[in-house]
Amino acid sequence: MPAAISVNSLRKSFGDFEAVRGVSFEVKTGEVFGFLGPNGAGKTTTINMLCTLSKPSGGSAEVAGFDVATARDDVRRHIGLVFQDQTLDGYLTAAQNLELHAELYGVERRLVEPRMRQVMEMVGLWERRDSQVMTFSGGMRRRLEIARGLMHSPRVLFLDEPTIGLDPQTRASIWGYIRELQRQEEITIFMTTHYMDEAEFCGRIAIMDHGEIVVLDTPTALKEGVGADRVRITTADDEAAIRELAERFDLEAGISEEAVSFYVPEGEAFVPRLFAELGVPIRSVNLSRPTLDDVFMSHTGSTIRDAEEDGRKNNNRVAAQMLSGARR
């Protein structure tokens, strides 16, 4: 089967800033592919290029067999999109929003009604089809957007942070739909997320940081690849503890989320040695098998939350610049 998406050294710069620095990957037909990374890593920029919403500065990409730069309309006919921010018309009813979509995409008239029923039943909104969208909750709107993205039977569905800002129950139900879709419609799903626990549901994930793909594999393989357990300790003197760990055990430790953390193979056997030999009093120990957080940490050197913090500071600066620019 041909690849649903194939990307070759894709780049995007905004002025001097390189948002995406040459990424390459392939997504197989029928796969659920996840793009994982902190905010500002370049996920949305990449997705925008794949959806033909923004032009690549370099490299190439094909979606559903069509080039995103030269066959924009063909790409658009075969993809569905669910954006991070909502794009529904609140004044229209749920059904009117979907009809409008079907008209814009030229869906055959006699199929509009049955298709609408199918996608709305899937997300549990068929009963509410005649309500104005402005009366819907955030979760209902997101579900409706997913239904709308599916109205024209796309071959590839792009979901940009589909579960951001939603309560756990709605998040779970959205994952239910994604699984159902994969089973029923052989649709390829390309999604971005910065929730580690959700990335676990993807067939394969690519971790993106600073505009580059740092690693790409199945979640299981990625976790096995870490090959070490994570130990997190709190001590009386963290600085001293880090020094001691380096000198006595030859381990590189760092502070993340207010604890000294480091990786060792066979963590259980190491903990007793740690208590016996570390010259600094230990207050608590936490030993864990590798998670995707650790995968992220081992490839980027920081946890995703720390990366978000840095990113947020950056974003604030950009926002401040934009504001002052607007005033001028």
């Binding site: 959806c51 033909t52 919403l53 923004s54 032009k55 309309d73 063909d74 658009r76 006919r77 075969h78 999109l81 954006f83 921010d85 909502q86 794009t87 529904l88 018309d89 609140g90 004044y91 229209l92 009117q96 409008l100 979509h101 008209e103 814009l104 995409y105 030229g106 869906v107 055959e108 199929l111 509009v112 049955p114 298709r115 029923r117 199918q118 039943e121 899937m122 997300v123 549990g124 068929w126 104005q132 709308r148 109205m151 024209h152 039977s153 756990p168 129950q169 998040r171 779970a172 139900s173 994952w175 239910g176 739909y177 699984r179 159902e180 029923q184 419609e185 626990d197 959700e198 549901f201």
Partner: protein, 297 residues
């Protein structure tokens, strides 16, 4: 986190066959369908927003009845027995569609701010279809609003006739289309609804006052005469006034004083050319609006 479809999520209909649809390649037919649906959306939204129908009538009615009745006492000597309300009525028919058409154009800024624009921008259709649908929608909405004012003709001593109704409606449609095109053109550049409204106020009010909607366009001071001839709205108010006055059977003196016609360096501009000016301006602005929207990524 457990993955299960909650009760309200409705059981996935695994039993039934999947309804598959197909998106055809772009064609003239699909573009027309897109134009139609963008147009229909304007109408649905207008119907849903009854408050807007009422509020956009307030200003024209104030001008017509308050200003018209109030100034009547000062001006009765020079209007040759014509009620001032009758005189400014054609101008009011023009501004009522202007205000509504402006609101329609504003919705494009609104759509962008609230994300809906993106839904239209990523569809496999030309940007020009979106712009044309939007302008036609604005024109339809504004001229239906104009019908309400047309219904008030009796209150300003203008008798009804089929030609009057059809003529006024056609002129309003043309004017509304051009104003919406102008608004959409401006909207392409402005990202915030507040600034858009500000710019529009800045343009629309002077255009209205200079156009001759409230005064005859003869014997104006030189600077005002120049501005008046440059104001596009002048060329909508003049044919509208001719159309209405043709139904009144006014004396020659009254006609000459109140509807002297527009002159360019002493040459009287024919009504057909006046209408063409509005049409040509509308088309030019539509062209610019389409170009602006197609150029964006």
């Amino acid at each position: 986190m457990s993955v299960s479809v909650p009760a309200d999520g409705g059981a996935p209909n695994s039993g039934t066959a999947v309804v598959r649809v197909h998106v055809p390649a772009r064609s003239l037919r699909s573009e027309l369908r897109a134009i139609k649906v963008v147009w229909r959306r304007e109408l649905i939204r207008f119907r849903a927003d009854r408050l807007r129908i009422v509020t956009s009538l307030v200003q024209p009615l104030l001008f017509l009845f308050v200003l018209g009745s109030g100034l009547q006492q000062l001006s009765s000597a020079s209007t040759h027995g014509v009620d001032l309300k009758t005189f400014i009525y054609p101008g009011i028919l023009c501004i009522s569609v202007m205000f509504t058409a402006m609101f329609s154009a504003a919705s494009i800024v609104w759509d962008r701010e609230f994300g809906f624009m993106r839904e239209m921008m990523v569809a496999p259709i030309r940007r020009s279809s979106i712009v044309v649908g939007k302008c036609l929608g604005g024109a339809t909405v504004a001229s239906s609003q104009g019908l309400i004012l047309l219904a008030l003709a009796w209150a300003v001593h203008v008798p009804y006739s089929v030609t009057l109704v059809l003529g006024v409606f056609a002129l309003q449609l043309l004017l509304a289309f051009s104003i919406t095109a102008f608004g959409v053109m401006v909207a392409a550049r402005i990202k915030q609804i507040q600034s858009f409204m500000g710019v529009m106020q800045l343009v629309i009010m002077p255009m209205f006052f200079i156009s001759g909607a409230l005064f005859p366009v003869t014997n104006l001071p030189g600077w005002l005469a120049v501005l008046n001839r440059l104001d596009p709205l002048t060329y909508a108010v003049a044919p509208m006034r001719t159309l209405v006055f043709d139904h009144l059977g006014l004396s020659k003196a009254a006609e000459a004083a109140l509807n002297p016609g527009i002159t360019w360096f002493g040459w009287t501009v024919p009504t057909a050319l006046e209408i063409f000016v509005i049409f040509a301006l509308g088309m030019t602005m539509l062209g610019i609006a389409i170009w602006e929207f197609s150029a964006g990524e």
